[in-house]
Amino acid sequence: MKYEMNCERISESLIPYLDGRASAAEQREVEAHASVCAACKTRIEEFRRLSVVLEEVPRMEPSGAFDARVRQAIAAEPRAGWFGWLVPAPRFAFALVCLLLLSVWTSRIEPNVSEATAGATQSEQDFRLIKDLDVLENYDVVKNFDALSELPVAQQTQTRTDSNQNEDQNGHI
């Protein structure tokens, strides 16, 4: 699509035109517009003058101490040591350190876990023993253990109570 050059559109092409970096088409368009627009023709010439005027501002040279200060600052920077090879890959180095720490932590924590599990198992066994203590201490139950072995614990307890009552009744008789 071909656009006709005008005073507004020149804003996109004028700088490349003055720098000598405009395309051949852009260059032709700017020149064609400048040939019919006195204001833009003057503008182009004033831009050229402006470029020369801006060069009047002198360049400053860094002081003699500048280089020495930069060299000193760079010399004070830490050098790469034995682990310098890790520096180009800081993410890898960080991940490696994390992995090492994690493995150390895991190896330290594992025995504690097994001790805790063992402790819990022991407590559970103790609790069962205490729960069944009155049954185990009952002579009649132990004596008739074969017959009662099939019964659930609750029924065993009930049976023990009944047999005690029977004993009491027999005693009274």
Binding site: S13, L14, V57, D67, V70
Partner: protein
Amino acid sequence: MARSDVQLMLEAKAGNDASFEHLLQRYRTPLVNFLYRMVRDSATAEDLAQEVFLRVYRARHGYEASAKFTTWLFRIATNLALNRIRDTRYRLMEVSLDATSTEDDAPAMELPARELRVDQILIAEDRTVIIRRAVDALPEKQRIAVLLHKYEDMDYCEIAKVLECSEAALKSLLFRAYETLRVQLAPLVGLAASPVPAIPAEAGKRRLS
């Protein structure tokens, strides 16, 4: 044959400090000049330039040859300079808030009136001071664009990367900057008996991406 920036930087990355010294010698003057034009104080410009070189040195291990060295260098310099300008502006604001004078009402910069003739201006002030003031008065992005385009001769692609905008947006930005300078410095550059009106800023304005 001179070694390229990329080559020198890759050698510095491999631990060759002499290559970094070459880069320092190559860019010390452009960098200090650019920073001086940004902050308008030679001691501050040198401090900032030292900080730029230090940052480049510290980052040498992570340098990738894909990025153009000068783009990287001037991007660091631009960020440091802008931060310094904003800090200074903030401090000045704090001072002016404490002060009781009414200097805030005065214009930030005295630019020559268009009617003044060049000889009158020469009597009043040095030409270079007038030019510097006109450039300093440009909006931040326009000023950086002009400094990199006019004084560092960087190409559009590089400047656009430093300013994080498209090339087309940069061309419009440069046009608006030079158009402002053309009007402000008319006594120095003007040809026409009656001044050529400026193209409205909106006309050449592209959205900066």
